[in-house]
Symmetry: C2
Subunit: 797 residues, 2 copies
């Protein structure tokens, strides 16, 4: 049985009631704070004990060489890795002669809670020092949504029975020691060259450190300032060295007295700005934060988060534990996305060093659609970042002998950082995924400024890529050979259906957007011939079909492969990629993560309902879910074809992935795509939300465990509320002009005047499909209140 | 125009008439001496100038870590690299105060010749020192075929006009400085950790150095002894340091006087034997060599080589330049193969560090069949080495989840050293290639001892591999998916025809051999069910066929791929793999090297003559010959289908590959497979030699440029001579019992009584197929006497 943190079930809080050092690193991810610009892992204030120290700035990376045993043309030579920057979280405490360290003395009480409505991490601890002094420590920490460069900590200490002398040391620490390197390829790379000091200073209660990275030549500054409130007799001093700035406050506290320190923290970095510019920038940010004050920051934070929940409301009745998990997921989506502002959204957000801090296709497919319907500006910001990397993507396409743009499989700054091309460069679907997110955003927002400035060019350059990557064969069919689809247990396949369907949509979207904006199109060198060539490729796109089996094969050859020998695969052999060579996975029928099933979600229009059911039944027994990206998609299609309990089971797996560390790598950071998968499962799965011919369509259906599902989405300057019970669905337009939507096959018009009520459709499904032995999701009992006791699933992603 | 060394055309010598420093490294490979155990590059005696110093011992390697940007299960972690060991070739000369260095002073004459009948490298130089002293230096060097641990040099110096004082320093030098690293993946890796000294000593004129490698823990000893003959007044001394042993001879020479030094050189190495054992072993070898003496070694050498030529005779009339190239090729095959004795035959022999000194499938497919028919013991030795690595190959198969044995794609010691699995581990055909060489050897020799001790087990363990690698599909066809065939511009293909046909033969050969040796089979755990399962897989082996095009596709999907855009490929973009990403090569119709065409050579029984002609015509326009392994095979099939001038053109390209450095990497060592390809082109191409139902079959045909072709082969303890002219073929049994062979479709019986004469068949071919633009072989003019002026072909391999 895996050790689990103890979280109480509360509607709006992730509340840890006792501290378990075995899962410290995992909780540091769970309690990470971020605004998309700054990320602070939930490390304890005093720095130790620590699972994995982590302070990140979006897009601040170091370079590392990518070595190959046998090189090849077009292999990336340099990788980018997120780095742990100057740690400003540290507030150490000396209680008489003993440092406050929970590993010593006696920890009588320790609670942490992430407040999902306030946007604050709170901690309280009662501790008896080894020398018998009893104190209470409480701290509140926030990373500001409203002041992007700012984090703040309110720290308070008071003696509980006898007077004590306390010394509080508030620090900035650069070049912290990090724990050893993991051999798991999903963990990040560490042991990079340290930051080099450029400046350090203290002045009164203010301290500042400026460093630069050695290879990527990025300059990074961190500054802190303090407000101290306490009894008389306080002494304060400050000092700095190249890697440490320290402000110390010493005072004798009697019971009833307390010392309170408010720490304001500012970060800034640049590849271009000078030392003095960075210096002044962070000092200015500090000044602004001080003038707002702690209470002011708190209030701004609360307002910002509440505004988010208004649009992102998502409630379920019948399963309080899942409700909490859903809110947790949405809150982290908020943290990762809202203030990225033309920066990428990494696979782990800014919660840990996993995957080297890279962004992948997950963001466009699993994160941005949810943000588009709840916080569209965040989606636009991430896509504007993609657009800003177009010159690099064009260069990469040229290097590969292709036209248009070839976006990187994994990156921080825009250059391809994948050192394994069969599952990196060859996974060209990333380009169609970006186009999908662009088209989805435009359809849901009708943001014509975005379309003209960003969207059209992204659609066009990716369409050009497809036109040059595929070809019309002698039978007039458009083939895309030798590429890798989403399922990483297949590679270099011909006519991967997911890829071909999304490329088809990409080509059509480029043609349509070009017609909508002829002037912009002209400036991009598009003529009618080129538009015609996109339409031709889309129209003639080859979608293979296996007539014998009556199923859609994942690619040309997939259904002709030998089935994986599941019978002889033991539970310890999952995830398979750690125990089996890639060559063998690639040539067998075994699916790591939804591929054709994902195509049925994103391109549902290309399949009949019967075909979806048959395909789902075919792929379920082959899908081992060795990736965390899979369960939510399987949930969505399970719901669509009517396997509602199965969908519910997959939903629970997705929702608890990080809270229960099901993949056993939450220490490296949260699985952002999976977190958003909870939203997707509820809204697209049980709500059945799709775009149909540009209109919103719903196909509501609930599993037994959920008695009511309520959600809001924003769509074309409207806010829409959907409220589903077992018997009826209530559609309400909460804000905006009237709008026609689909309820199943019925077109209904919503207005703010009156809600529309429809009966919840009843659906029949065939027998529940089987999963590979031992790989079925845990059955989620309705109204489950089990706490922290799921069987470990041993799957990863 | 590339610079070429100047070789005079001589029947039995490679004769260089002037020294061109620009091609020094290339000539060091051409003039390399080896007996398969020791290899000495043709470095100048005095050590400098030097292209690439090289002294190699077969299987003496150092380990190096194989780094991956993203690791994976089953990736080899450690590579093996041939290393430059203690250099015993060095004899430095001081002439009055000036060192003999041909870069200074005036080189009046410099000639080198590799004597292909004597097995000796001779060098003479006349030189005027910067201070005006005129001398003549001559040296003869041999690596003994009869005393495997021994090399010897006879070195002579004489003044030409005025008296001079000479000092000759004969040395052993360990840890020589090597030139910088190349970025070409085909070059070897260098910059390894140096050898560590264990012992050094000198005694009289004898010196000795013993070292060990740091990571592979191999001990290596080198020793030298000298005989010195000169006028009175000679002084001699000796000294040693950890990396140098030096014997110096000083004397004043008047015109007419000469100093002659005979240097005996012995090498020994072991992974197990102690320091003193190695010490004694090399001293003993020196003692034996001294007692044989220089003249004795020369005589043994001559006898050995002449015996070789008796069986390996191969003469062409009409093209003296090609005749010389053919002898050169055969001589290097002799050097690489004859005294390997249960050691591998590397792709470069022991002539250079290319490909890290690894052995590949080339040896079994391109080298061993030729050795089997000319020097069968050498083929048996190489296969016995493969057999000795069976435990490692079984372990690898187990690691990959397969049964039987999985031999490494590239190795020195037996472990897989390929760090790029799509063209390494996935190239499973290596296993069928080994089985092919085994079956070919057994068929040609009827060596039952070999079959029982070595052959059967190799056939069985590879057959087991195929049975577990492939599977019977629902239609009852045996499929082998996701493997890489010989063409390295395709990878991870389904049902590669070459692989499937050779696997089929492998399975059948295992079944037949098991039935021949039931007791041995029993000891290997073979039962009738297993034999039946091999036969079933062989019988049901899927061989795809493209009905639309009426050609055999290289694999299931190949003919459905887009054709490579040859029109837009410039001459500078070859070899393609240096300028194009692998993913793009893999998904297009472009062939690096004969694949399906090689299958038509090795499994000609599986194709009708018409099909061969159609297939050849289909693949010729797609084959760019970016590998040196291709031309000979294309020549063989071109000859078979009747394109005799084309075959002749390919033959010339193969034959001149190293003499003219056509691939521009002869500096790293000779292309052994290509050298043997000259033999194959003549014997299997123009002689049409095949095995047909276990019998020798001939299909003679000559291009216009060759007026007569004569060759010997040894076959089942017989020696057979074949003599082909434009009009008739004369078959003679020169030794052994009568034998039935095929002349085309006619069965004839040969006996030592009388030769059988048959008319040379006339064949008709369709129009000469086209090659990709700029990739056709140079037209070989009949009776060409052009010297060193071919256009550079810019292709590599």
């Amino acid at each position: 049985m895996m050790k689990q943190p103890a979280f109480a079930i509360e509607a709006w809080k992730i509340h840890e009631t006792t501290l378990n050092l075995d899962v410290l690193a995992q909780t540091e991810s769970v309690f990470a704070l971020s605004n998309g610009h700054i990320g602070l892992r939930g490390n304890l204030d005093e720095g130790e004990p620590c699972g994995l120290p982590g302070t990140y700035l979006n897009s601040l990376y170091e370079l590392r060489p990518l070595p190959y045993p046998e090189g090849g043309y077009g292999y990336p030579e340099s990788g980018q890795t997120i780095i742990n920057v100057t740690n400003g979280k540290i507030i150490r405490l000396l209680v008489d002669d003993a440092p406050f360290d929970i590993r010593y003395g006696q920890l009588q009480r320790h609670e942490r809670e992430l407040d999902l409505r306030e946007g604050v991490l709170r901690r309280t601890a009662s501790w008896i020092s080894p020398t018998g002094r009893s104190i209470k420590v409480s701290s509140n920490r926030l990373v500001s949504f409203t002041q992007r460069a700012i984090a703040a900590i309110s720290y308070e200490v008071e003696p509980l029975d006898t007077p004590v002398r306390v010394v509080v040391q508030s620090e900035l620490v650069a070049n912290e020691a990090l724990p050893g390197v993991s051999t798991d390829p999903r963990a990040g790379t560490v042991s990079l060259a340290p930051l080099e000091s450029e400046e350090h200073e203290v002045q009164n209660l203010r301290g500042l450190l400026i460093h630069h990275t050695q290879a990527s030549h990025l300059r990074i500054g961190a500054a802190m300032d303090h407000l101290v409130v306490g009894p008389e007799g306080m002494t304060m001093e400050a000092e700095s060295t190249p890697n440490i700035a320290r402000v110390s406050v010493s005072v004798r506290l009697r019971p009833g007295e307390r010392l309170r320190i408010t720490k304001f923290l500012a970060y800034g970095w640049s590849s271009q700005r000078s030392l003095s510019a960075i210096h002044d920038q962070i000092i200015a940010a500090l000044t602004a934060a001080r003038s707002t004050g702690w209470e002011g920051l708190l209030a701004e934070q609360r307002d910002f988060v509440q505004e988010f929940w208004k649009n992102a409301r998502l409630e379920i009745e019948g399963d309080a534990e899942l409700q909490e998990a859903v809110r947790f997921a949405q809150f982290h989506a908020l943290q990762a996305g809202v203030r990225g502002e033309q920066r990428p959204i990494p696979a782990k957000g800014l919660t840990g060093p996993g995957y080297d801090g890279h962004t992948f296709w997950d963001t466009e497919i699993f994160v941005l659609p949810a943000l588009t319907l709840t916080f569209p500006a965040a989606a636009a910001g991430a896509l504007r970042w993609r657009h800003s990397t177009l010159p690099l993507a064009r260069k990469r396409a040229h290097q590969l002998g292709l036209r248009g743009a070839a976006f990187p499989w994994r990156t921080i700054h825009g250059e391809e950082c994948s050192g394994y091309w069969p599952a990196g460069t060859a996974a060209f679907h990333i380009n169609a995924d970006i186009a999908y997110a662009v088209a989805f955003y435009i359809a849901c927002t009708e943001d014509r400024v975005f379309e003209q400035e960003v969207g059209l060019e992204l659609l066009v350059e990716t369409a050009r890529l497809w036109r040059s990557l595929g070809f019309l064969d002698i039978h007039g069919q458009f083939r895309i050979n030798g590429v890798t689809g989403p399922d990483e247990y297949s590679a270099l396949a011909n006519n991967n259906v997911y890829t071909n369907l999304l490329a088809q949509q990409n080509l059509r979207a480029a043609a349509e957007a070009s017609r909508r904006h002829p002037q912009v199109a002209l400036s991009l060198g598009i003529d009618t011939d080129e538009i015609a060539s996109w339409n031709e490729a889309a129209e003639k796109m080859l979608i293979p079909y296996d007539q014998d089996l009556q199923v859609t094969p994942q690619d040309d050859a997939f259904t002709s492969y030998e089935r994986w020998n599941f019978a002889d695969t033991t539970p310890e052999q999952y995830p398979l990629f750690l125990y089996v060579p890639y060559f063998d996975l690639y040539r067998k029928q075994v699916v790591k993560q939804a591929d054709l099933v994902l195509a049925m979600h994103l391109r549902g229009d290309a399949f009949s309902p019967e075909q979806k059911a048959r395909n789902f039944a075919y792929y379920e027994p082959l899908t081992v879910r060795d990736s965390s990206l899979s369960a939510a998609t399987q949930a969505v299609i399970a719901a669509e074809v009517g396997h509602l309990q199965l969908a519910y089971d997959y939903f629970a797996e997705t929702a608890f992935l990080d809270l229960y560390d099901l993949a056993q790598n939450t220490r490296d950071g949260l699985h952002l795509a999976s977190l958003l998968g909870t939203w997707t499962t509820l809204v697209a799965g049980f709500g059945g939300l799709r775009l149909r011919g540009g209109s919103l369509a719903f196909g509501p259906r609930l599993p037994e465990g959920i008695t009511r599902l309520t959600f809001h989405v924003v769509f074309r300057n409207r806010r829409i509320g959907v409220d589903i019970t077992a018997t009826e669905v209530r559609y309400a337009l909460l804000e905006g002009e009237p709008l026609a939507v689909w309820h199943e096959r019925e077109n209904i018009t919503l207005s703010t005047q009156e809600a529309v009520i429809q009966p919840t459709p009843r659906i029949q499904a065939g027998p529940r499909p089987k999963q590979p032995p031992g790989r079925a999701p845990l059955k989620r009992a309705a109204h489950s209140l089990s706490k922290g006791t799921p069987e470990p699933l041993h799957h990863n992603g």
